[in-house]
Symmetry: C2
Subunit: 299 residues, 2 copies
């Protein structure tokens, strides 16, 4: 019997993962977030995962076979240095321990490209140094190391999907693609950097599909979840301009790039492709179109 | 007012740190271990640090300004893969949180050369990849990352002393120098590897003196605590043979080297020497002599 618990279910990737679980035939789906949400066919639970007692009660009453742990503080501009990062690492370890006590089989967590050193451009699970600069990256990577050494001793199979640059519906309104889309839809200028830096963008629906595929597999350890393609930020922005038909509102070079932003960050997707057997479904034009349609409805 | 709490006080480094604190004029010294011990001028507390309630009570009642956190599972042959490693990481984070609540100023913890990748020989805080292979190294390094990102946000100054190859009195009887000394003192053969591999050995009294110096400083982050010298294992063993006067009992090559033992592991001690202003006091001959005298009394 398969029962899945999704944490952070009300968040950006959470929304896409609930849809991906439904699409892949998961019928006994439990979602948790601080305040209850709703989604068709999903049983929702309100729980503050920082509350150890509440977390224990939730897990012991549900006894999920599988867990997709996405919950983390992700407020743009704040999450890099928030003291919540360490609290999430600690709460996540408690989650693993409670899952083990409840006889869980599988736990998949969301990691980040921020765990890697950003000096090398390509981020490979095997060869790129793990030298996170931020409290966010450090806490994520610390948790990954603790999970990998603890999961097997507790009898829970674990995997760790490192997310790069997801975009799509439900993205925070202040993040890059949402901001540009909302600006252009409102007929306002979108102030951008030069956009010459390249990132590994992946449509959030694809990120979610990869996470659910990972959940269904028995791969363990870290695995990059990216497209494997380095796309210039200006290319993404131009795709939005084209989709909405207002390219003249895009102001490249109107904002400085932050000092520590690297030129290139791209996932090595060999493990994703060859070991998990997964590759992206959605083109940039399709993904941008979905995002634009979302903001037309929610703007 | 300075008050120091020493965890793991009944252990190998703990014994030396209590002596080093006394030697450097610390008068209000509190020691904690699972079962109470004793040491002159030290107030001892029995506490299981895995018990969150007991840990909180201890810290809130003592309210130490300074803490030297040495406690960890260190049973030879077992600690590398023990599930205790993760429990220690979790308990150590609780210790930091309780110290912050109690208004503590400074926390210094024991890290390990096992946090580094062992492919490079030299272990430098700045440049050597942190790629621990073992649950022990992973948990230690995970804790270091969490401390470094959390300590400052909680207002507690933290540092992390990475220990290499300490030897001396109170070392576990089955570890290298203790085993060879006990064998030779008993007139028995000591079965050794070829001893060609080089390690950074440092007399435990010196390790302790460096830890107390670090505790008194305001350096933060990781700092190697080593000699900076790569000494062949056979050189250490020969020094024992010479000290005891039974070199013929040493059987080099009688044991295989474990498959994953690197040829060379040595600390980059630039930070220790230049930023902390510390260097070793004890020669190998002196340190071995102290160890031999210890086993004559305790054998």
């Amino acid at each position: 019997v398969r029962r899945v618990l999704v944490t952070g279910a009300s968040g950006f990737l959470g929304a896409h993962c609930l849809a991906a679980l439904a699409a892949r035939g998961w019928s006994d789906v439990h979602a948790v977030s601080r305040s209850a949400g709703c989604a068709r066919g999903v049983t929702w639970h309100a729980c503050d995962l920082f509350d150890a007692g509440a977390l224990a009660s939730l897990v012991q009453s549900l006894r999920p076979s599988h867990t997709l742990h996405l919950a983390w503080t992700a407020t743009p501009g704040k999450y890099w240095t928030s003291p919540d990062n360490e609290l999430w690492a600690a709460a996540s370890m408690r989650l693993l321990e409670e899952l083990a006590r409840a006889g869980a089989r599988r736990l998949v967590c969301a990691g980040s490209c921020a765990e890697y050193s950003w000096k090398y451009g390509l981020c490979s699970e095997k060869t790129t140094p793990l030298a996170p600069n931020s409290p966010y990256g450090k806490s994520k990577h610390a948790l990954q190391m603790l999970l990998s050494s603890t999961g097997s001793s507790l009898g829970v199979s674990t995997a760790w999907g490192r997310v790069f640059f997801p975009y799509g519906p439900y993205e925070h309104r202040d993040r890059l693609t949402s901001y540009v889309i909302r600006s252009l839809l409102a007929g306002e200028r979108a102030l951008c950097t030069t956009g010459d830096h390249r990132r590994d963008f992946l449509y959030a629906g694809d990120v979610a599909d990869a996470f659910v595929t990972l959940l269904e597999s028995d791969l363990d350890g870290p695995i990059n979840i990216g497209s494997g393609e380095a796309i210039a930020v200006k290319t993404v922005v131009a795709a939005i301009g084209k989709c909405i038909g207002r390219p003249e509102l895009i102001q490249l070079g109107a904002r400085p790039l932050l000092a520590d932003e690297p030129d290139l960050l791209v996932a090595d997707v060999q493990r994703l492709r060859d070991q998990l057997g997964w590759s992206p479904h959605t083109t940039l034009a399709q993904g941008i179109n979905e995002s634009v349609e979302f903001w037309k409805r929610h703007g």
